[in-house]
């Protein structure tokens, strides 16, 4: 029993470390991600049957790669593919003998760029990365993204077909295209992180894990592109936010806004790592959206040392962010920060200026911010109405209760 589970664990760890690497190698020449995944899953199946008896081979990755390549070659022999079967076959033959089994190339970065190619449906990019690089099954990805499994399965199949049939190359784009393409990779990773982050209560472990998987992908990109400031910035941003994950709820499970969080419940080591990454990014002297967002997170972290939050600097960072990639949410956050610098009336004026944006009409934080500011200026009636609106828009019960408590705490009239 012990041996079997130890082998199973070894196989699982090998899978985790190697999956994306092997998919990338197998799919890079053929463009056939689905075929690579099928072959690899068969190879893992063989490993599970073979390794407990014979022991884990010295070079497990090369072993898995050899078995998977044979499966791919057999598979092509068995069924003629719809396109370029002979060319496909020649490529596989060429791959059948790994030149140097001990130095497998790491082509995961190329795989990530293929997954986030602008020719791939935007909504499929993050799920595709999670599947191709980390080996998640479609069902797990579907539940993490709150999408029906059949719909997610179809989305993934379509994306892989597009990669293969449209001839999306497995390569890191040239310097002219790199900034835009890297942005697309980072955006997909951040989308996965944001999905996981919204499950603050940790009610759904799959969604919670999603945030960690996104960080794993962020680490991978930061490790493979150590001189890309935005890759470092995104990782810093995610680590900063993640360091506070437990502090977002008190012991009773009630919502705690960032300003009221108990700093001793922040993950100090993770914040230190995030800060170091941001310093490295800043040293590269090419500012960007993720570095600015990481800097905003970093500004809140000064509370660890008992220092006051530098609100004026935060307003400045939001201005820079708004100049770089304007969004109504950034404008909203800027207005909230402005309240700490210039007072509630100035902040309300800033909110009024963006209130006409339809994208904010059903956005809970807009109404919550408005309510809070109105309450501070003494407009109890309007404040209650705005809280009402915010409560009606919130799907997280703990946040709803928080808003209800705030609304109930408004002084009469």
């Amino acid at each position: 029993m012990g041996d079997v589970s130890a082998t199973a664990r070894a196989a699982e760890m090998a899978a985790r470390r190697s999956y994306g690497k092997l998919v990338a190698i197998l799919a890079a020449r053929t463009g056939d991600v689905a075929g690579a995944e099928d072959a690899l899953s068969e190879a893992f199946g063989v490993a599970l049957a073979d390794w407990p008896g014979r022991g884990v081979p010295a070079n497990a990755e090369a072993w898995l790669l050899t078995v998977a390549r044979r499966r791919m070659v057999d598979d092509v022999r068995r069924r003629r593919l719809d396109d370029q079967a002979s060319e496909h076959f020649a490529l596989l033959e060429e791959l059948a003998d790994p030149a140097d089994a001990h130095a497998l190339p790491d082509r995961r970065l190329e795989l990530l760029f293929a997954c986030a190619h602008p020719g791939i449906d935007r909504q499929a990019r993050a799920p595709l990365m999670l599947q191709a690089v980390l080996g998640f099954d479609a069902g797990a990805i579907a539940s993490a993204f709150l999408v029906a499994p059949a719909a997610m399965g179809q989305r993934l199949v379509r994306a892989k077909t597009k990669i293969r049939q449209a001839g999306i190359g497995f390569r890191v784009p040239g310097p002219a295209e790199l900034p835009q393409r890297l942005d697309s990779v980072l955006e997909a990773i951040y989308a996965a992180y944001a999905e996981g982050w919204t499950d603050a209560a940790g009610a759904d472990p799959r969604r919670g894990n999603l945030a960690e998987e996104a960080i794993w992908l962020g680490r991978l990109v930061a490790a493979l592109m150590p001189n890309e400031p935005e890759a470092l910035g995104l990782l810093s941003l995610m680590l900063h936010a993640h360091a506070r994950r437990d502090a977002r709820r008190d012991v009773q499970g009630e919502y705690v806004p960032i300003a009221a969080q108990d700093v001793s419940r922040w993950d100090a080591a993770m914040i230190d790592e995030a800060e170091a990454l941001l310093h490295r990014a800043n040293a590269l002297a090419a500012p960007g959206r993720y570095q600015l967002e990481a800097a905003l997170q970093s500004a809140h972290s000064v509370r660890r040392a008992g220092a006051p939050v530098p609100w004026a600097a935060i307003v400045g960072l939001y201005d820079a962010l708004q100049g770089m990639s304007p969004s109504p949410v950034t404008a909203l956050n800027r207005a909230v920060a402005l309240a700490q610098v210039d007072g509630s009336i100035a902040a309300l004026a800033a909110l009024d200026a963006i209130g006409g944006d339809v994208r904010l009409r059903d956005y809970q934080p807009y109404w919550a911010a408005r309510a809070e500011l109105l309450a501070r200026t003494g407009d109890a009636v309007q404040a209650r109405a705005a809280y009402e609106r915010a409560i009606g828009l919130e799907r997280d019960a703990a946040v709803r209760r928080f808003l209800q408590r705030r609304a109930a705490g408004i002084d009469a009239p």
Partner: protein
């Protein structure tokens, strides 16, 4: 891989050009075609007559139906094509972006189904 670049544009755009502008546009296309030829990726190319000259045929219950006009009426019309042979989609997209039609219309890039 072979890709067909399908050039779509609003014919009104061409109509509204002056003679000089038209000559300039034709010059741009000539230069683009020459660049494709020099790079040895060009497999074929043609400019098409306007959609009003199209005739659509289909067989319905054994009878040939012939209709005046294009298969689909849209503001942007298929005006021409380039068939190119390049390494991958990014290379095809790179060429498409240099095509003058990318500025005054849009280009659909379709991989050719290799038989």
């Amino acid at each position: 891989m072979e890709y067909l670049l399908l050039l779509h544009a609003d014919p009104q755009g061409w109509e509204s050009l002056t003679e000089t502008q038209r000559a300039q546009r034709m010059g741009e296309y000539g230069a683009f075609t020459e660049a494709l030829r020099k790079a040895e990726v060009l497999r074929g190319s043609n400019r098409l007559r306007p959609a009003e000259t199209a005739t659509t045929v289909r067989l319905s219950e054994g009878k040939t139906e012939v209709l005046n006009g294009p298969f689909i009426e849209t503001r942007e019309q298929l005006g021409g094509y380039y068939l190119i042979d390049v390494a991958d989609l990014d290379a095809a997209l790179g060429w498409a972006a240099r095509c003058p039609a990318a500025s005054h219309g849009s280009i659909e890039v379709r991989p050719v189904w290799a038989m």
